[in-house]
Symmetry: C2
Subunit: 412 residues, 2 copies
């Protein structure tokens, strides 16, 4: 008998009626003859509400209590979903992360799954029960840790791997992975398949379908993930190995990030050491650099450009001001009126002309590229924020990601 | 160094500002040089909201998931209170019931504390930390159980006993135990001390200051409890041994219960057996009988009167209808327009004339007594519901419970 792990996002559990609807879907699948483990996110905006309460009480709450606080959202939703399933006549048991055998390590409020001992879940599903696991959490020693944003996806993927599940299905309020944000490009295409690596790059570039960490776990265990809608019948998107993708396109998806800050730093002539200092300080503050370019011979004409998340801008500025005060750098500038457009696809590594085509498409539309960075499967460009959406539309058009005319458009 | 257990009720933790106020009080006491364990109730109406969600999903949710669901309220409030204390510069650790070493047995949604292993709490307070324990919950085997209504009081009292605390203070939105509900009698008196037994009878008769179970635990361990206000400076009421009460009065307090139903049952002549059947059926349905009177020779003139909580009236009626259909009883009547007034005090057992005085006071006010029942330290009378509050006022006046004129009146 197949074993399926399903994960439902917060919006799909956003009201008692929605929880009942999800219970109905789960039970329907159960009656088709599968053993089912469901991972539940917190209801609606619960996590944000709990975070807001914590912030009202303390500027820097201790992570241990933060983990304990935030774990409650998923404990509530999983207990309620189990009750809704029980009321449909199917035995169901809700388990906290700890009860599910999930051990975590690292920070209490941004932990990683270390180990899963799935004996209790196995026993329950083999007894014919549907198991509902509180997502986003695990046991750290004797205490509770939460897994960071998107952690319920990580719970689902890691559980599917530990249980040797036949598949892992992530249900949320989107029909799957789209070639582009449908709010920007109306004819965004639902991708039938995408490779782990492409999905990783898209996630890192602002696509909010799934967090990178979950994709890394799936890739490590070669576990296929289906991303689909909790609200409508959608074929969804399978995230899997590159080799399994038959219909290949040069560019798989385009992502836009509007909440970034771009920093230019100039060192004193011949003194490239500032780079090491700067990067060390940024790493120490746990600020994540998203895109970084520098001159080829940085030791002699020291200049560095990089981007950070907009909410890290102020803290980055503090570091730069200190370096300036210590006379370790000559100058810096920071601007937040920029956006990053990223194209992702395995075709990039095999098509040397793509970068040119990107420049060509944007310059034809009179959009200046302020900065660029490429990797094996990604091209990112920084443009003025006001041109962000237009850039996405131009590039989507250029690389023909849109659904072929005459076929059904997937709404977002 | 003294060890104090403090418990704060849901209203006193009803907003972030109130949680900060409670943190301030706790820290103030800490700086006076005590080790402190705080037990937190769920914020405001959280428990009722969670119950409402469960009821929207299932008519009879499984108790195991109900316990898990309801425990989340106190996990949230204790984590938040610990954060608020930390932000005042004092180390604090929040613990779930299980992390506190509290084991429970019985139903998952109405459990009793079985054992407390307080090593972790001892270690933390000895390290100078304030420990905030999530009330109302414990570990049952590998799962979570909640302790039933008023369970956070039970957590506090049992923890105080297990920790050999110097005192246990219950802070809520009332200044202490009053001689009477101040919404009914304006000059209700704050009792400086009350005996466990009296408090038990008052609680069983509708006084909502504290649940009987907590008082039983305190009495078992001869632990004095101070009940006081979380909002204002009040001397509060000490619940303790009878012997420690210096200033004794005949009647300590008066309680009113308006949500009751009174049932009269008539058996067939000479067939008193119906009583056994009736009581067995009622016990099986877990309906609690509050007051029961019968004729002296029930086998020959079988008639029985009793009261139940109004919300059990319908289920009681079902039982009686069945007995009638089976011809085991001759007739029954059920009325809900009645109220029960109870006078509690050790003086009752030593003053034979009290019952007469109660009858006298009420008849002078033209209030009919429909039913009466007395115990060692309690006299309860049933009157028409419309006379309930007037009866309380008459009796309060008669037995001079009011604060002597010229002294400060305690507002409710």
């Amino acid at each position: 008998m197949t074993l399926i792990v399903q994960k439902y996002g917060g919006t799909s559990l956003g009201s008692m009626a929605r929880i009942q609807a999800v219970a109905g879907r789960v039970v329907k699948r159960y009656h088709k003859g599968s053993r089912i483990v469901v991972v539940a996110s917190a209801i609606g905006k619960t996590t944000d509400e709990l975070l807001g309460m914590a912030k009202a009480l303390s500027d820097s709450p201790r992570t241990r209590e933060m983990g304990m606080l935030l774990s409650a959202g998923e404990v509530i939703s999983s207990a309620l979903l189990a009750m809704a399933i029980q009321s449909l006549g199917v035995p169901a048991t809700a388990l906290t992360g700890a009860q599910s055998g999930i051990s975590a390590s690292g920070s209490y409020d941004n932990a990683r799954i270390k180990k899963i001992e799935p004996e209790r879940i196995h026993r329950l599903v083999n007894d014919g029960e549907i198991v509902v696991v509180a997502g986003y959490q695990g046991q750290r020693n004797e205490d509770i840790a939460v897994l960071g944003r998107g952690g319920s996806d990580a719970s689902a993927v890691a559980l599917a791997a530990a249980l040797s599940a036949d598949c892992c299905k992530i249900y949320s309020d989107v029909p799957g992975v789209l070639s582009c944000d449908p709010r920007i490009v109306q004819n965004a295409r639902l991708l039938p398949r995408i490779a782990y690596e492409e999905m990783l790059e898209l996630a890192a570039s602002g696509a909010q379908v799934m967090m990178g960490r979950s994709i890394e776990i799936a890739r490590k265990f070669a576990l296929e993930i289906l991303v689909s809608s909790a609200f409508e019948e959608s074929p969804g998107t399978v995230i899997g190995k590159k080799e399994t993708i038959v219909e290949k396109s040069i560019i798989t998806g385009i992502a836009l990030q509007k909440d970034i800050a771009r920093i230019d730093v100039h060192g004193h002539n011949g003194e490239g050491r500032f780079v090491k200092n700067l990067l060390a300080n940024i790493a120490e503050e746990e600020i994540s650099i998203q895109l970084l370019t520098s001159g080829k011979n940085i030791l002699h004409s020291p200049a560095l450009s990089f981007t950070v998340n907009a909410e890290e801008a102020e803290r980055t500025k503090v570091i730069l001001k200190q370096l300036l005060a210590d006379n370790l750098i000559a100058d810096f500038s920071l601007e937040t009126d920029v956006a990053q457009v990223s194209l992702v696809g395995f075709g990039i590594s095999e098509n040397y002309g793509i970068v040119y085509e990107v420049f060509d498409a944007l310059s034809s539309a009179n959009i200046d590229i302020l900065m660029t960075s490429t990797s094996e499967i990604k091209i990112s460009v920084i443009v003025a924020k006001r041109f962000g959406e237009a850039s996405v539309r131009e590039l989507h058009q250029k690389f023909a990601l849109a659904f072929p005319p005459g076929k059904r458009k997937i709404a977002g």
